[in-house]
């Protein structure tokens, strides 16, 4: 599937699964087709070999019949010894398939066949017109030298392998052709998101820096409130920009891990969102144990925390609460928001899945959280009661 690997926006899991299923199905049917061809070839070669052997075995059977005839005619005059031959083994059966005498290695003989191969031996059955010693069927058994089989295996390995390689190559090109429209659409989307993201950065940075500068000046309370609202909006756009950058470029960004003080980081991020918290009149209760550090990539952990705090604010009610607790082995963020319905809990880590569509968003936040947690070796658990609360616990 190397056709897919260079895209910045990778195919979604379900699309990858579909392509993998197609490839497995193609491989399965190709192998099945080859298997049928191999079986057909094997049977044809076996029949040809048996046809070649038939003449010689028929002669052996005639020789044996002559000896049986002699024994039948002189049964009371000669020793009653069954005629033996070094070239083959034989057996005689009466008309109701009862064994009269046998020198065969196998006791299970199919008298309805003419000639067949079984367990490395060739069996030839000849029906008599006159039943000497009551014999209706003479069975001749000779060992198969296996030369034809070696030739069959050799040909199957050479030609079968060649055909399989050609069919797989054809499958690859077929897949490439099938993927072309999808690849072009994804490339277009990829380019669009990159361009948009790039274009967003400069104006958002300008807005934010100017708001910061304006906040330091003496301005009246009314204007300050307006500026704060613009700041929240601009930070929301800035967060979205950061998320998109993470999604589109995460594979190209090298991870820089170092020991990070988690309490410090959580405090810093809570301060960053303080305006948004205030704007919804949310009460923030934080209990952060000191001296807990983790060996992680700061940027990624910041992104994870930002997404969790942003969700706790976004999905909270006015005058709600947010609890942030940091302990030795975990931290959690609990909101008093809408909660998540039980049947939607399993889906919320999927990209573009949103449990609640009443507020804005793309549904990429928790997908990013899940991705970062996976990369940084963290475990994310969600506990939620619909219309009451949601707690997201990150443990290590």
């Amino acid at each position: 599937m190397s056709v897919l690997k260079n895209w910045d926006i990778n195919l979604r899991q379900s699309e990858k699964k579909t392509l993998l299923s197609f490839f497995i199905l193609y491989l399965f049917f190709t192998t099945l087709l080859l298997l049928f061809m191999a079986i057909f070839y094997y049977n044809t070669q076996k029949d040809l070999m048996l046809k070649d052997k038939r003449v010689g075995l028929s002669k052996y059977a005639n020789d044996e019949i002559k000896r049986l005839k002699y024994l039948h005619v002189n049964f009371d005059r000669v020793p009653r010894i069954y005629p033996r031959d070094k070239r083959f083994k034989s057996a005689i059966y009466d008309s109701v398939y009862t064994k009269i005498f046998s020198l065969l290695d196998s006791s299970d003989v199919d008298l309805n066949e003419d000639i067949y191969l079984k367990d490395g031996s060739i069996y030839y059955i000849k029906e008599l017109e006159s039943y000497y010693l009551g014999t209706k069927y003479v069975v001749i058994e000779v060992k198969d030298d296996g030369i034809w089989l070696k030739r069959v295996y050799k040909n199957l390995a050479i030609y079968g392998g060649g055909i399989l390689a050609v069919l797989l190559l054809m499958g690859y090109f077929l897949l490439y052709l099938l993927l072309r429209p999808m690849r072009e659409a994804i490339e277009l989307l990829d380019r669009f998101i990159k361009d948009t993201t790039h274009e967003l950065n400069t104006p958002v940075s300008t807005i934010l820096s100017n708001i910061e500068l304006s906040s330091k000046e003496q301005i009246d309370e009314k204007l300050q409130k307006r500026l704060n609202r613009i700041k929240i909006g601009a930070r929301t756009i800035s967060n979205l920009y950061q998320d998109l950058v993470f999604l589109t470029l995460s594979q190209k960004i090298e991870s820089k891990k170092q020991n990070e003080d988690i309490a410090e980081l959580l405090q810093e991020r809570l301060e960053y969102f303080s305006l948004s918290i205030e704007s919804k009149k949310i009460t923030l209760k934080s209990k952060l144990s000191k001296g807990i550090s983790l060996h992680v990539d700061k940027k990624k952990l910041t992104k994870l925390i930002d997404n969790l705090i942003s969700n706790a604010i976004k999905y909270n009610k006015i005058n709600g609460t947010i609890d942030v607790v940091l302990a030795e082995k975990y931290f959690y963020i609990k909101d008093s928001g809408r909660g998540i319905e039980k049947d939607k809990l399993d889906l919320i880590f999927k990209r573009y899945e949103r449990a609640d569509r009443s507020v804005g968003g793309f549904g990429i936040g928790l997908s990013i959280v899940s991705k970062i947690a996976q990369e940084e070796g963290l475990r994310v658990e969600i506990d939620s009661v619909f219309k009451k609360y949601t707690t997201v616990k990150v443990s290590w």
């Binding site: 109701v96 009269i100 005498f101 039943y131 010693l133």
Partner: protein, 108 residues
Amino acid sequence: MRFFILCLLLVLNLSASVYQKNCLSCHNKLPIKIDKFFYRYLLKYSSAIETKYAMKLYLQNPKKENSILNPALLNRFGVKKKTTLSEKDLKKAIDEYWDKYKIFGKLK
């Protein structure tokens, strides 16, 4: 003494099987031994069930058409008389005849 010999012959006659009394007694007088008939039956009918059935059919209803003898021998000896044995005795006689000359277990 004469009485003793007569008694012995009577006992021997009484202990003889249906086959010995009713088949061998006549066939022993013929120039062709009884085993030759068996091998001719075997040559034509192969299995025990078919051979015994063909023998019974011929003995109960002897005809030129269902005889296994060749035409020359048939002309010379003719067709035998119909058997007077009961179904049960005839079966006993044929079974003994089969057991005596069958090929099964006799080849080495």
